[in-house]
């Protein structure tokens, strides 16, 4: 890798981290992306369409993925995590734990012969456990790098993949590695994860098959997803004719420790409601909400379109309970319509709860390693809303995307570019 002073480390390869990497690399500096999953892409790779214009997410993300992969100044370390960090702005020593993937990244061509041969099937994390993958797998078709990974927890060491791989890429004896990296600046772009909605037993998630969360819905309507893009119920494969979306679950709830608004769930639910109507124009789709927060560019217009053109119904009210319905698999939503003060019981064939976002697993550990303070909510604390919205306490460490709080794609991308700007000011100083 190039001169130490001219390198940036990016933790997390979601859309924010990727944008930051591209903008730093464009100036000629070296970048290393440390991503703990087997592929970069983050949450955006999993979602189906994107608000506010309904482009398909994979379609707009894929060119970015290959741009990052092919950029001569960018190194991607997947299956990797930050081990330790020392030093100061302009001169950090980072030890990266590169976990064994049991497949040689240089040799694997992504042909997939191994997975065809592999006898072990386990639920796919990428498909939210709704579909299956093998013990040797890529999370999704456009995975970047397009290299298979052995999931050792489920591998039965049958060696069948090893034998079938023509390139002799598989090595089940591979061990973890430590990679040392000198960086002038560090960007935290670890994103966020979904609130576990089973914390609200009254909403029926994990009790009833046909109550799913929004991420599962995204996979269900996705053509590359477990049902090949057919929106069907998990209990009986029936096409749901009536669908309810429940908002603010695990968000704006002081009692559950998530006092803040998650900022994206209103919009992704409106999008998903529209997609449900797209898949089945005769369906009746309801959204139960407290406030509809359509604040970004084009968002309010999108909300209007969902109502006026697609006929999505919006009902203001907190859902008290989701109960079993009269017909098998159906559900009844009990909700107080706050606009009429009526208690209503509305039957649906499928219910989608829209979870808020919470900091990703391992955030506090990472923050400790980097010596960064966190907010009460557990995100990375920014220095100042106006003087340092992507800066942290450490002058050489920046933050972008959902790592400092929930954000939609455009805001995450802008923040990625902003963090890149700040990082390169430090890198350029080292160059002088």
């Amino acid at each position: 890798m190039a001169k130490s002073i001219g390198n940036a480390l990016i933790v997390g390869g979601g859309v924010a981290g990727m944008q930051a990497a591209l903008d730093i690399a464009a100036q000629g500096f070296g970048v290393c992306i440390v991503e703990r999953s087997p592929s970069i892409g983050g949450r955006m790779a999993m979602i189906d369409k994107t608000f506010p214009t309904l482009d398909c997410s994979a379609c707009i993300l894929t060119p970015k993925l290959s741009e990052v992969l092919r950029h001569p100044n960018i190194t991607i370390l997947t299956n990797s995590e930050v081990g330790s960090v020392s030093g100061k702005a302009g001169d950090y020593k980072v030890r990266i734990l590169k976990k064994a993937r049991y497949v040689d990244e240089e040799k694997c061509s992504g042909c997939g012969d191994c997975a065809t041969e592999c006898p072990v099937e386990v639920p796919s994390e990428f498909d939210q456990g709704l579909g299956f993958r093998k013990a040797i797998y890529v999370p999704f078709p456009q995975a970047t790098p397009n290299v298979y990974t052995v999931d050792m927890d489920n591998c039965i060491m049958c060696n069948r993949c090893v034998k079938v791989c023509e390139r002799e890429a598989i090595d089940l004896e591979m061990v973890d590695e430590i990679v040392e990296f000198d960086a002038g600046a560090i960007i935290v772009a670890t994103g966020a994860q979904l609130f576990d909605v089973s914390a609200y037993p009254r909403l029926g998630y994990s009790l009833y098959d046909n109550v799913i969360n929004a991420m599962e819905f995204e996979r269900l309507v996705n053509a590359a997803g477990p049902t090949g893009g057919h929106l069907i119920r998990l209990s009986d494969g029936k096409v749901p004719m009536s669908i309810g979306f429940i908002q603010c679950v695990g968000a704006r709830d002081v009692q559950k420790g998530v006092p803040y608004c998650s900022r994206i769930c209103c919009m992704y639910s409106i999008k998903n409601a529209v997609m449900a109507m797209e898949h089945n124009p005769d369906a009746k789709v309801w959204v139960y909400y407290a406030d509809i927060r359509a604040f970004g560019k084009g968002f309010e217009e999108f909300y209007e379109m969902a109502k006026a053109r697609f006929g999505v119904r919006f009902l203001r009210g907190r859902v008290a309970e989701v109960m079993q319905g009269t017909h098998s698999g159906n559900l009844v939503v009990k909700v107080e319509d706050t606009e009429t003060s009526e208690i209503r019981l509305i039957e649906h064939e499928m219910v989608i709860v829209s979870p808020g976002m919470i900091p990703p697993e391992g955030m506090s550990k990472l923050a400790r390693k980097l010596g960064l303070p966190m907010t009460d909510d557990g995100y990375i604390k920014i220095e100042h809303s106006f003087f340092g919205p992507v800066a942290t306490k450490d002058p050489g460490v920046f933050v972008c995307g959902m790592a400092d709080g929930p954000k939609d794609i455009p805001d995450s991308v802008s923040a990625g570019s902003a963090a890149a700007m700040k990082a390169t000011i430090i890198l350029a100083k080292g160059e002088e």
Partner: protein, 583 residues
């Protein structure tokens, strides 16, 4: 630039998962393409833009010795750069690639007519193949990028962008039309989510900008002429007071011209009483311990706010958007004022306190007994002024009751709208505007800060309504884009320019009068004089080519033949053209 080899065309039809294949019979389209003249390879594939899809193109170029590629997939406005790069990697000139839009223009807009959609898809592929046959390769040109950025607008966004670029070691020309830097933020008394005044936030930025050796600031000034192309723009800046004009050569531009607060004449009796003000005007009321009624100077005891004034109005051009900042700004103002004022009421449609720390203000306001009342979308509150008193009546949807109130001061949280001269700015920099009246980004999700004019970025409220913290993030992001171009020092530009065939030119001067960029001149050294194009100035609109009465101008990559052959392919069946029948 003539292509001597026989065209060998490869056609790749994309499923785009379900997006295309769910409506269009992609297999049939690929099959049909096989029978078209000069097509030596045709297939359909799940995701053409994926690594696998890209590899497929490269492999097939090699395997079949393809010298033309047609990809029938999504809009070229998205993936044309991707595929051009792919074919180039396999040794095919990027201008020998053509893309068919089967998704945005077919499957997504004819979802319920799969047969007609497939027919349309076939026609479009035929047209593209016909065009591919007559495409010509063009040289790839690069130009240098001058190491200076022009920042237009000295609000918080413009200031931040200028500082970042200066700190990174490049020169900045900052042009502000007012006499003072700082924009709107400088006027706000209390900023959410911090607890500083706008002046406290803006002052240090202005100080740094003024002290920065790389930043030249021109206040009272506007850009009046803008010429050139990415990396090499020529701008003329005029001082509005002295009318002095100066010319500068610059490489990149950041437009940060911000917004103005909407003045809501015709809404809620605005203008009928001095006690009805906008939220922006409230912040400019003379500061004192007690908020005083503008009409008679007595202390305000009851205050009311109305949200979404001039925002969120479906069907009202330029007012359909949510203005994003006002819910939080209102909650903050109300919470602050409630400490001194007995009754504070907020009328709203939705409370959009989405951001970091925003919900806290909302909760704080509620804790301090600010009253929130939701009014229906379709029945706005009614405000009248009787005997110089402000009367309000509305229906509270949550209590399902008609309510009335007589505030001492009524504050309207009005929309952020573009500045009056935005049309002029848009024209100057060839920017388009979206429904909210602000500038259109290159891509609403993945390229929010760049525009369709190469080398021109947008940041802050000029891109859309947003708060100051978000404007600052934009500004640094846009600065990164500008620096990226300048640090490299050069950039590739399009070769799609026009060219005069001097032997056909009849010296009529028509082209010279139609070219909007003065790119065509007469070469007087020959007799009779003939027109010639200065390629660096030509932006490739093609107006000259269609205006030339002698058909002496060719527009590279968009020649008459390249266009008309598509029409022919659509309207005349291959049987008519070639005498063969597709299977």
């Amino acid at each position: 630039m003539t292509q001597t080899d026989d065209p060998r065309i490869g056609v790749f039809v994309c499923h785009c998962g379900h997006n295309i294949a769910g409506v269009v019979d992609v297999e049939a389209v690929a099959k049909m393409a096989e029978s078209l003249p000069n097509v030596v390879f045709s297939c359909d594939e799940m995701f053409m833009c994926s690594d696998a899809g890209q590899q497929l193109i490269r492999d097939k170029i090699e395997e079949h010795n393809l010298n033309r590629v047609v990809v029938a997939s999504c809009s070229p406005r998205m993936h044309e750069p991707t595929f051009r790069r792919v074919v180039e990697e396999a040794g095919v000139n990027r201008y020998l690639f053509d893309q068919v839009n089967l998704r945005e223009h077919v499957s997504w807009c004819h979802t319920r007519q799969p047969e007609a959609a497939t027919e349309k898809a076939k026609d479009l592929v035929k047209m593209s193949v016909a065009r591919a046959r007559v495409l010509e390769d063009l040289p790839i040109k690069t130009v240098k990028v001058l190491a200076t950025t022009l920042v237009v607008g000295g609000g918080i966004a413009g200031l931040r962008a200028a500082l970042d670029i200066g700190d990174r070691g490049f020169d900045v020309l900052l042009v502000e039309k007012e006499s003072e830097l700082g924009g709107h933020v400088a006027k706000w008394t209390h900023l959410f989510p911090a607890d500083e005044s706008g002046a406290e936030v803006i002052k240090p930025l202005i100080k740094d900008v003024k002290a920065h050796k790389r930043i030249t600031t021109l206040t009272n000034s506007k850009v009046i002429e803008f010429d050139g192309y990415i990396g090499n723009f020529e701008v003329t800046v005029e001082n509005l007071k002295t009318e002095k004009k100066q010319k500068f050569d610059i490489g990149t531009v950041i437009v940060a011209t911000g917004f103005i607060p909407f003045r809501p004449y015709g809404y809620f009796a605005y203008g009928e009483s001095p006690d009805i003000v906008t939220l922006a005007e409230l912040q400019e009321l003379a500061p004192s311990d007690q908020l005083l009624k503008p009409s008679d100077g007595t202390p305000v005891k009851k205050i009311a706010f109305i949200g979404c004034v001039g925002s969120r109005e479906p069907g009202v051009k330029g007012h359909e958007h949510c203005s994003r900042h006002c819910c939080a700004a209102t909650a903050k103002a109300a919470a602050d004022l409630r400490e001194k004022i007995e009754e504070v009421l907020i009328l709203y449609q939705d409370i959009r306190t989405y951001g970091k720390g925003h919900e806290e203000f909302y909760r704080l306001a509620r804790r301090r007994h600010v009253i929130f009342s939701k009014f229906p979308r379709d029945a706005k509150p009614v405000v009248t002024v009787k005997n110089s008193e402000v009367h309000m009546s509305w229906r509270d949807v949550l209590a399902d009751r008609e309510l009335t109130f007589q505030p001492d001061l009524l504050v309207l949280a009005t929309a952020m709208i573009p500045p009056e001269d935005i049309a002029e700015t848009a024209k100057m920099f060839s920017l388009t505007r979206s429904g909210d009246g602000f500038f259109n980004p290159e891509h609403i999700k993945l390229a929010p800060l760049t525009t369709h004019t190469a080398g021109v970025m947008i940041a802050g409220a000029s891109q859309a309504a947003k708060n100051a913290s978000e404007s600052v993030i934009d500004a640094s992001g846009a600065a990164a884009k500008a620096v990226g171009l300048m640090a490299k020092g050069e950039v590739e530009i399009e070769s799609t320019v026009s060219h005069v065939l001097s032997e056909l030119c009849s010296s009529c001067h028509t082209c010279i009068t139609v070219c909007p960029y003065g790119a065509i001149n007469m070469d007087e050294t020959v007799d009779p004089p003939v027109a010639f194009v200065t390629e660096a100035k030509c932006r490739g609109c093609g107006t000259c080519a269609s205006a030339c009465p002698s058909s002496a101008i060719i527009m590279y990559h968009s020649t008459d033949n390249q266009i008309m052959t598509m029409v022919e392919a659509y309207l005349c069946s291959p049987a008519q053209l070639e005498g063969g029948e597709p299977q």
